[in-house]
């Protein structure tokens, strides 16, 4: 029996509502900034978003991107480091829109970002109204420290999949592990089944 620190509870004090909060998470009113590297600052004149299919690229400049239909959504987000934030409001372009315009058809995608970060997802988890490329948070332009000008938003999976500073989606035939997945995080990352690490 290992040592237990008398009276230590960590952040979890009262059990959270299990219908709303996935297992092992605590609700925070803050919006923690977790980074693996310096905040990129790509000028908007240089920014593009691309759907990459082998040699083919469908790209949008920032102006073109903002002309796409967008929507405002309110969702809960869950970070693998155990914090959850409820009722967050975002404005973004549905990934459905982007993949449709690109005529994309592959089982998986790999999101790629300024700074080199990547994360992998099944295409069906970023379509059907489940994912956006978000450029607005809380009715303001998305702050660079939170991934602005645009980040991926996939609220039904752990938030490391909602890649900050996203610059595109590369279509893939295989589920190729991205940055954190390569180091032992779960390939899929469903917070409701507590899929934090590979093998969970």
């Amino acid at each position: 029996m290992s040592f237990v620190s008398r009276g230590f509870k960590g952040r979890r004090r009262d059990p959270e509502d299990p219908g709303r909060v996935p297992p092992g998470q605590y609700v925070t009113p803050d919006f923690p900034v977790l980074s693996a590297g310096p905040t990129p600052h790509t000028p908007l004149e240089e920014w593009t978003f691309a759907v990459v299919d082998g040699d083919e690229r469908t790209t949008w400049t920032w102006e073109e991107f903002l002309e796409l239909p967008s929507e405002t959504v309110t969702v809960d987000i869950h970070c693998v480091t155990r914090w959850s934030k409820l009722d967050t409001t975002w404005e973004g372009v549905s990934v459905d829109t982007l993949l449709e315009e690109a005529g994309a058809d592959s089982p998986y995608v790999l999101a790629f970002c300024d700074g080199g970060y990547t994360t992998n997802l099944p295409t069906e988890d970023v379509t059907g109204g489940k994912a956006w490329v978000a450029f607005g948070y809380d009715r303001e332009p998305l702050d660079p420290e939170h991934g602005g000008p645009a980040r991926l938003l996939v609220p039904h999976l752990y938030f490391w999949k909602s890649a900050k500073w996203v610059r595109g989606l590369a279509l893939r035939e295989e589920d190729e592990p991205g940055f954190w997945e390569t180091y032992g995080y779960h390939l899929y990352g469903d917070p409701w089944r507590e899929q934090r690490y590979a093998g969970d």
Partner: protein
């Protein structure tokens, strides 16, 4: 010296349970915890130790804390309670004398001062960054070192100054210069702003004196001061830095 380094490197680093001997409130938000560590191998001024807390359900949290005491004194750490912290509220409010606490250490071979260097010391502290520097000052006192010391200590208000009484009584050859960045008491004649190039130029030993500098505190403080010292002519290798995390931990 090389032999010591090798021996130091090959020593195992294992968790052990220490007992809290005493807790001392330094300021409204800061507490020193004096520990009784059964298998303590001794430490050097500037080193830190890792603390691990385990909840009933097995949930664990780990943090590092600089050792506040000099080599030869009982092991002590000084903890600042951070807003929305996970570990610091426990250490500063719940933990009490007689409790066990898991730790490992000492750790660190870079941000250390053994007192053999006779050159002037410039110690620059941002907030709780004063902790490892205080261990250095105490070590200097205990060993009778004649290295002249200037401690430049930046705090928000006078009430936030840690070890205030001790620093006021600092002995021969130790000069403490405070700057209070947010609020100053009536009649305050000292510095009242964040450390900038001019303040640093006033306080730091001239570059020609060959001083060794230790800068500790939040990252933004450390980088501003370290850069400032290099701009004043300090060789980068004579400016040692230790950055503390800024957000609640």
């Amino acid at each position: 010296m090389a032999g010591t380094a090798v021996r130091g490197r090959l020593r195992g680093l294992t968790w052990q349970v220490a007992t809290v001997d005493e807790v001392v409130d330094e300021t409204p938000r800061v507490r020193t915890i004096v520990l009784d560590v059964p298998d303590w191998p001794g430490h050097r001024a500037g080193q830190h130790l890792d603390v691990r807390l385990t909840a009933e359900d097995g949930y664990r949290a780990e943090r590092e804390y600089s050792i506040a005491s000099a080599p030869g004194e009982p092991v002590a750490i000084t903890v600042e309670r951070l807003e929305d912290g996970e570990v610091s509220p426990y250490l500063t409010e719940e933990l009490r004398a007689g409790d066990g606490i898991e730790l490992r250490g000492p750790i660190g071979g870079y941000f250390v001062w053994d007192g053999e260097d006779r050159m002037p010391l410039l110690l620059a502290a941002g907030g709780s960054g004063v902790v490892p520097l205080r261990a250095m000052v105490r070590h200097r006192q205990r060993t009778g070192s004649e290295a002249p010391v200037r401690l430049l200590y930046s705090s928000r208000t006078l009430d936030d100054v840690i070890y205030r009484g001790e620093l006021e009584e600092a002995s021969d050859g130790v000069e403490v210069v405070h700057t209070l960045t947010r609020e100053q008491p009536p009649g305050w004649g000292g510095y009242a702003r964040r450390v900038d190039a001019e303040l640093l130029a006033d306080v730091a030993w001239p570059a020609d004196d060959g001083a060794l500098a230790f800068v500790c505190g939040p990252t933004s403080f450390v980088e501003a001061v370290a850069e400032g010292l290099v701009d004043l002519g300090y060789p980068p290798a004579r400016v040692k830095t230790e950055r503390f995390g800024a957000t609640g931990r």
